[in-house]
């Protein structure tokens, strides 16, 4: 992987604390993501991994801390703003648009790339038509990339789990993001589906140069894919570093072996 050029800092998270009522979900988390790297966030269930992603793309608003993305520092931003700044993501339990076809789901991902107004769309001539076509081609490129041509017109609701995950990845890619957040992209997949997904993640990273932050439980996968790994436990930052460092970190081992927290 060293031929990949990992650049400077793209995203910097500083002292993020988030709580719902009395429940503290994230407690003073700080880390960064470098241009073009694959960054993993791991930790037991309820460690606050998904919440961390939600904070990054603006769905949750932390009480403290700041996020710096591409040099701009904010306390929080609206989800659609995050999207328009090039952050896309997939979800732990699939959040596809069940009523729509694979193609439409991916086309929806192109939303921000399309501009024509209602009037042209109603007539479906001129700019609207052209725009539709060029984005359709972009969408088709992604469909080929993920090789899901066969299910192009199928309503996603009926697709098998693995494929749905793939379509969801496609939808995220369609936005041509700079930072791609993957929330357990391989959860509930069999080994070969996992392999496929791993390949896609690597290809995305190397071919499109997309920076990736992913949450994953499968340690093997994590260790293979990631450049750096962040470990969360009960909303606290347990460790952060290269895969090997993390692997040998005592706290991490305890956490994973499930040694009761207070003793650790």
């Amino acid at each position: 992987m060293n031929e990949r050029n990992v650049g400077g800092e793209m995203l910097k998270v500083e002292n993020i604390s988030l709580s719902f009522g009395i429940m503290k979900v994230l407690d003073d988390i700080s880390f960064d993501i470098k241009q073009g790297e694959i960054r993993s966030i791991i930790g037991p269930n309820g460690a606050g991994k998904s919440s961390m992603l939600n904070v990054i793309n603006g769905f949750y608003h932390p009480q403290q801390g700041s996020i710096t993305f591409k040099g701009e520092t904010r306390k929080q931003m609206a989800p659609h703003v995050a999207a328009s700044h090039g952050i896309a993501r997939t979800f732990q339990n699939i959040a596809l648009f069940k009523g729509m076809s694979t193609l439409d789901n991916i086309m929806t991902g192109r939303n921000l790339k399309m501009k024509t107004n209602l009037f042209w769309q109603a007539l479906h001539i001129g700019p609207a038509r052209a725009e539709e076509l060029e984005n359709r081609e972009a969408a088709e490129r992604i469909i080929d990339f993920l090789d899901i041509q066969a299910i192009r017109k199928k309503p996603v609701g009926k697709l098998p789990y693995g494929l749905q995950k793939r379509v969801e990845l496609g939808r995220a890619l369609a936005a041509e993001p700079e930072l791609l957040l993957l929330d357990e992209p391989m959860a509930g997949m069999n080994s070969e589906e996992k392999e496929d997904m791993c390949r896609f993640v690597l290809d995305v990273n190397s071919e499109f140069g997309t920076t990736i932050a992913l949450i994953e439980h499968d340690m093997g996968v994590v260790m293979d894919l990631s450049d750096r790994v962040l470990v969360l436990d009960y909303g606290k930052q347990l460790a952060d570093g290269l895969p090997d460092e993390v692997r040998n970190n005592q706290d991490v081992i305890d956490a994973y072996l499930g040694i009761p927290h207070e003793q650790a």
């Binding site: 769905f59 979800f91 732990q92």
Partner: protein, 298 residues
């Protein structure tokens, strides 16, 4: 000032009358997540049946009431068997539509069975103004409405006990949360639904009796459902106390508005004012005054 108290009081009373109808909605929504639009027509149907049994078959009141309850239970069973069961796990809006279909069916059946002329319903509920209030405080309150308020109180108490103390009641609460849990209580979903709809049917009967004695039993009785909806959203679809409190807020609100604001803008503002009031509340609490909080996750 005295007049204002009078207005507010009769608002409270009217509100309780609405709550009687809203209660039925709440029960069914709580236990099965169905927005039962037929509740109003069920009230009409129950009242029609009651009168019919008394007039056509000359039953004494108590027997007629028992008979009507039996009919409502049978109805609940039929609804579960022929409507809910085939529609299980459908979108809420589909079930909502189905209940409107149900409303049509009941409306037609009521007319065919008992005829569509106005029927008097007199089961000895005191009528007219409370003379005592009128003479000693010069405040006008209908005896019927005081009676209705009392009934509502009793009914809510019963329901509370039913939900808190009885096994079935707890099961119902469980269903509200999730269906698996319900099964774990050891009662089949079907039974639970039959029970809920029966209870709602009985509540409808009470509402039907109150409104029927107030204005005679006739088709229009089914339209009180529309009066109950603002109560419903204000109180929250899932809260029994909400239905009562909501009813009172709506009742007082609309009466005060009609009496003091109405003359200025040309009157007959009660209906939309009730909805606007409810809407205003919703903007601050989207799940209604007593509805469960909605937490969004991804």
């Amino acid at each position: 000032m005295l007049f204002f108290i009078e207005v507010a009081l009769s608002g409270l009373m009217a509100g309780v009358m609405y709550s009687l109808v809203a209660l039925g909605f709440v029960l069914i929504f709580k236990a099965s997540g169905i927005f039962n639009f037929a509740q109003g027509v069920m009230a009409l149907f129950a009242a029609l049946t009651l009168v019919g049994l008394m007039e056509k078959f000359g039953m004494p009141i108590w027997l007629a009431i028992i008979g009507t309850i039996a009919v409502m239970v049978a109805l609940a069973w039929a609804i579960e068997r022929f409507m809910l069961r085939p529609l299980v796990n459908q979108e809420p809006i589909i079930l909502f539509m189905a209940t409107i279909g149900l409303a049509y069916v009941l409306e037609g059946m009521g007319d065919i069975l008992w005829g569509s002329d106005v029927k008097l319903l007199d089961i000895g509920i005191p009528q007219g103004a409370s003379d005592w209030m009128l003479d000693s405080f010069n405040i006008y309150i209908e005896k019927l409405e005081i009676f209705a308020a009392g009934t509502a109180a009793v009914m809510v108490t019963f329901l509370a006990i039913f939900f808190q103390k009885t096994r079935i009641g707890r099961a119902l609460r469980a269903v509200a949360d999730d269906h698996q849990a319900a099964l774990s209580v050891g009662i089949s979903l079907h039974t639970i639904w039959v029970i809920v709809w029966s209870v709602a049917g009985i509540v409808a009967l009470v509402a039907g009796i109150m409104w029927g004695s107030k204005s005679g039993v006739q088709f229009s009785l089914s339209l009180i459902a529309l009066k109950a909806l603002p109560v419903l959203i204000l109180g929250g679809f899932t809260s029994v106390p909400g239905a009562i409190i909501g009813g009172m807020i709506i009742g007082v609100g609309e009466k005060v508005a009609e009496v003091y604001l109405g003359p200025i803008v040309g009157g007959a503002i009660e209906n939309w004012f009730a909805y606007m009031l409810a809407l205003a509340f919703l903007l601050f609490r989207p799940q209604g005054l007593f509805g469960e909080r909605i937490i969004e996750r991804v």
